[in-house]
């Protein structure tokens, strides 16, 4: 189901919008030149995840030396501050364990879906380069994400 978020010109970089798609609350973020969408519900205790502060990775080579890397793509839940990557929904708080919430990625390619597509195929979780640089392992919480793309002049999220 495609949901129109807003006109592109009404959604400049650095902003976010919270929308309702059916029963779900979804946060849509415009970070630099990319759009991300993530469920506005923290897997931990259900907090309003998409109201949280956005930050880039803080990467440290040694105590006291820290560089900020990449775009601000980590959102911190206003309750407890646990952080999730906007693109994958992945948190990085420990070795991969049983996921609390199922990770759904649907690749939106318009009318190019053919008959030989495999449904339900698990995608490997990409570890962003900055997360790897920060030395962090993914897990265990994963927030639900949704693909966002620009069609004509509208920002649309697919849920």
């Amino acid at each position: 189901m495609k949901v129109v978020v807003s006109r592109l010109e009404d959604f400049p970089p650095g902003e976010r919008k919270i929308i309702k798609a059916g029963p779900r609350s979804i946060g849509v973020f415009h970070v630099d030149d990319e759009f991300f969408a993530i469920r506005n519900r923290c897997p931990h205790q259900g907090g309003p995840l998409c109201l949280g502060r956005l930050s880039p990775w803080a990467v440290s080579s040694q105590p006291g030396k820290v560089s900020m890397e990449g775009p601000p793509r980590l959102v911190a839940c206003p309750w407890h501050g646990w952080e999730y990557d906007l693109e994958t929904g992945q948190s990085f708080m420990g070795p991969g364990e049983t996921r609390v919430k199922a990770y759904e990625v649907s690749v939106a390619s318009g009318g190019s879906l053919g008959d030989d597509v495999h449904h339900g195929q698990e995608q490997p979780i990409p570890i962003p380069a900055a997360a790897r640089a920060a030395g962090r392992e993914p897990g265990p919480y994963v927030a639900e994400t949704f693909p966002v793309y620009v069609e004509d002049d509208y920002v649309i999220v697919e849920v």
């Binding site: 990467v59 006291g64 407890h80």
Partner: protein
């Protein structure tokens, strides 16, 4: 113990009967300093070990005193076990950094000559001063390569937690020399043990070692990224208990998830560093008296990996670790009684 097995005893106390034997190894100025100030070694270590904290002696009304020779030690232990000796007489309350450093050097020279070079089944901890990390590094470089020393010894009651950056050079020197960072209960007792100041009972003072002070160092060493910058460093908590560890780690792991940005050099969750790099001696054990509760302790923490047997001779504690050992299989018991220590100290 239900099965006779060789032990490695990781916390055994020895000490000179008075300050005089130490002065032999110190600069002449210190003999003058000690004489002028009428300094002496307190038999109760400034109250850390009052008579009630010693095991009873042979005769009624006496206590077993801290062994001053290998012969006295072997008589007290009753066997020829491998033991790591801790001489904690430098746990001092004065603030003269030069005296503290000189006292530590004196103790280390005395320990080497009187014990380590006279009984090859004995190993020792290199006492380090707390007031001057440079002096601590110097002492490690002076004696750290001696095969008898397997560990450096520092008190948990101290000026600043051992993760603090002023200690990083000491961690590096210790790790380079293959020495474990040994953090022992008690210490500079002129520093109050609690955030609200001094306690009025021995019981509170005694409990403060395991319930608050030791835990502050665990938190500090991890939070300051010590195990990221010095991954080879190992830490032994001596006479600090261990049953508090699971609860500390639950709290520490959770808090880190929320405020990791304050310490971005901590890349793994805190419990990962602790379980990998810390070991804990078994006296005092401070375990639950209820057998049903005790039986769950191995679920909460990997006791067969973390614990190292200690008698803490000649100090007295409560019910020891035997009831916990009885819950383990033979391999687990051997790990605690000797294997973990042998591995940690390269014995």
């Amino acid at each position: 113990m239900t099965v006779a097995t060789r032990v490695v005893d990781v916390d055994v106390h020895v000490g000179p009967g008075s300050i005089q034997p130490l002065l032999e190894y110190m600069e002449p100025y210190w003999a003058d300093y000690v004489a002028n100030a009428e300094l002496f070694l307190s038999p109760t270590m400034n109250g850390l070990y009052p008579p009630a904290a010693f095991v009873p002696g042979g005769e009624e009304g006496t206590i077993t005193s801290v062994p001053t020779t290998p012969e006295e030690l072997r008589e007290g232990l009753g066997d020829d076990r491998v033991a790591v000796l801790n001489c904690i007489v430098p746990f001092d309350t004065s603030h003269n950094p030069y005296y503290e450093a000189a006292l530590c050097s004196g103790v280390n020279d005395w320990l080497r000559a009187h014990f380590l070079e006279r009984d090859e089944r004995l190993r020792g901890s290199l006492a380090l001063p707390t007031l001057d990390p440079d002096a601590a590094v110097q002492e490690i470089e002076r004696l750290g390569s001696h095969p008898g020393f397997v560990q450096v010894l520092l008190p948990i009651r101290t000026e600043v937690p051992y993760g603090n950056k002023r200690w990083h050079r000491v961690h590096d020197a210790a790790a380079q020399h293959g020495l474990v960072l040994g953090l022992h209960a008690w210490g500079r007792v002129a520093n109050a043990p609690t955030a609200s100041g001094f306690t009025h009972s021995y019981l509170e003072d005694y409990a403060s070692n395991s319930q608050i002070v030791a835990q502050a160092h665990v938190t500090s060493l991890v939070s300051e990224g010590v195990f990221e910058r010095t991954p080879d460093l190992k830490v032994a908590l001596l006479e600090c208990g261990f049953a508090w560890l699971p609860f500390l780690l639950w709290r520490f792991d959770k808090d880190w998830k929320g405020v990791w940005r304050e310490v971005p050099w901590v890349k793994e969750r805190p419990s990962a560093y602790v379980l990998r790099s810390f070991r804990f001696s078994t006296a005092p054990a401070q375990l639950p008296a209820d057998p049903a509760v005790l039986a769950r302790i191995p679920d909460l923490m990997p006791v067969t990996e973390l614990l190292m047997y200690a008698s803490d001779h000649p100090h007295r504690h409560g019910a020891g670790v035997d009831a916990l050992l009885d819950l383990l299989d033979q391999d687990g018991r051997e790990a605690v009684l000797s294997g973990n220590a042998a591995s940690l100290y390269g014995l």
